[in-house]
């Protein structure tokens, strides 16, 4: 037989002692087989509980009354046999209805098979993009100017095109505002928080005119600033007209020379 660890024995002895209303030492002795089990003398006690069901639900463990058992047992011996079945050891707190965690949507949706209705157009667009990219790369040469030299500053020094809108903004305002606060607050914080700010559940453009307007203004603003930065800024970040003074945008060097 496997030895039961002492701490587990004590724990179960405590539980047993609490349930039967006896001392822990006695319960321990019973479990080790050194004393007569108390359980038989407890059976009639349950009988008493059965007669008054209402308080049972409230009482966690019936308190043993030592003199009671013998008399009840004598009076109604046949009911005692059924007593263990009605012994209540737990209380009903609440009934939790079985419910799935994710709610299945039962509305019928008009669906089509992914193959071929989605995967074929996808494949065609990937091929088209590959063809476009290869063609573009064959026609347009990526720029490679002279080797990097920290001592020779080009005039103007331009950022990559997607930052040129910011660089343009930088020429109007203080760099702390235009260079950091606007991109950080407007570009990152506001942008990420947008779904949490715009709580209008409508998706149709006619029912969310402000949001559409807001984004379109942003798009137009960013577009105009970027185009100015790319095409209309020359040496000293002065205003130039691309058709008169030329273009200062080395990223499309090959394209500019192509003309």
């Amino acid at each position: 037989m496997v030895d039961i660890p002492e701490h587990l024995l004590i724990r179960s002895a405590e539980a047993r002692a609490k349930a039967l209303g006896i001392t822990v030492e006695q319960a321990l002795a019973e479990m080790k087989g050194e004393a007569e089990p108390t359980v038989i003398s407890k059976e009639p006690d349950v009988q008493v509980i059965d007669e008054t069901p209402a308080p049972v639900a409230e009482t966690p463990a019936p308190v043993a009354e030592t003199p009671a058992p013998a008399t009840t047992k004598k009076d109604t011996p046949e009911e005692v046999e059924f007593a263990p079945e009605v012994k209540v050891t737990q209380r009903l707190l609440t009934v939790v209805k079985a419910k799935p965690i994710q709610k299945p949507v039962s509305e019928p949706v008009d669906k089509v098979n992914t193959w071929p209705h989605l995967m074929l157009p996808e494949f065609v667009s990937l091929m088209a993009m590959t063809a476009f990219l290869i063609l573009l790369s064959a026609i347009l040469q990526a720029p490679l100017l002279e080797e990097a030299n920290p001592n020779v500053t080009p005039n103007p020094a331009k950022a990559p095109w997607y930052f040129l809108g910011l660089q343009e903004l930088l020429s109007y305002w203080d760099p702390q505002i235009a260079g950091v606060m606007i991109p950080l607050l407007l570009g990152v914080v506001l942008w990420m928080a947008f779904p949490y700010i715009d709580r209008n559940p409508e998706t149709h453009p006619s029912k969310r005119k402000f949001a559409i307007m807001f984004y379109t203004f942003f798009l137009a603003g960013a577009g105009i600033l970027t185009i100015i930065g790319v095409l209309f800024r020359g040496p000293g970040w002065n205003w130039t007209y691309p058709w008169i003074d030329g273009i200062w945008f080395d990223d499309l060097l090959d394209w500019i020379h192509f003309e």
């Binding site: 995967m119 080009p154 997607y162």
Partner: protein
């Protein structure tokens, strides 16, 4: 019994060989049960499902999608193209890594790549224009999602991940901008890095951390190289996985309007 002609015998033998190969141990070990590669493809609703279900793309696509979502005019395939451009950039980028050293030799390496390595110029052009295109396509994808109101509940959080992906795309493009080590690269990055220097409170530290010094040097080149080829792709792939997973968990494509 009709005697088979030689041509028919050949045909029968070919079909038998093909069947026994497709049903054989090798194909069974490679393809999942029900895969069209094992039992042949005859167009039927069942087989259309099997094509997706027995494919690794099942991680990306469900068996069925909403009808309005497959119209090209709805998404313009912009999300898929963003992902595809990332793959193209990964492939061309790995190819370029064979010929590039992020040291004082970087510029010479690019010159050699363009002049003395087969397809070097083409692959470099593809990598550069593909990167510009990816920034553009990701931005257009974001605009498409905005105009469709596709960021609304329950997709709010996927929009947040999408903005992070856009920022990571910009960072990837920006770090790659320095690598050719020419005048365009170093001064564009200097302009961008100086912008970071205007950050309140930690401006000087941000600039120092970005440049690995006070100005763009070869130490900056190495830093940007590691960010560009390892760190940022690693991060962006994690966010992309969550992004794609959330698209499906949030109920697939949004709409119709």
């Amino acid at each position: 019994m009709q005697k088979l002609s030689f041509r028919d015998k050949i045909k029968e033998a070919r079909i038998n060989a093909s069947d026994s190969f497709r049903g054989g141990k090798l194909m069974s070990s490679i393809f999942r049960p029900g895969s069209p590669f094992r039992k042949g493809y005859v167009d039927s609703p069942r087989n259309r499902s099997y094509v997706v279900m027995n494919n690794v793309l099942y991680h990306l696509h469900p068996v069925k999608v909403k009808r309005h979502g497959v119209r090209l005019s709805y998404t313009l395939c912009l999300g898929g193209l963003s992902f595809f451009l990332f793959i193209v950039l990964t492939i061309t980028g790995i190819w370029l890594m064979f010929y590039f050293r992020p040291t004082e030799l970087a510029y010479v390496d690019i010159q050699n790549l363009q002049t003395s390595i087969a397809f070097g110029s083409l692959v470099r052009n593809m990598h550069r224009w593909g990167a510009h295109l990816m920034v553009l396509v990701v931005f257009l994808h974001m605009s498409r999602v905005f105009y469709h109101g596709a960021y609304k509940a329950p997709r709010e959080f996927n929009w947040v991940i999408g903005v992070i992906l856009l920022l990571l795309t910009l960072l990837l493009s920006f770090t790659g901008y320095l690598l050719p080590w020419d005048q365009l690269a170093i001064w564009a990055v200097t302009v961008g890095g100086n912008m970071a220097g205007y950050t309140p409170v930690i401006g000087a530290q941000a600039k120092f951390g970005l440049f690995a010094g006070l100005e763009a040097t070869t130490a900056t080149l190495l830093r940007f190289y590691v960010l560009h080829v390892l760190f940022l792709p690693f991060i962006i792939v994690i966010f992309m996985a969550v992004h794609f997973w959330r698209v499906r968990k949030d109920g697939g494509i949004s709409g119709p309007l």
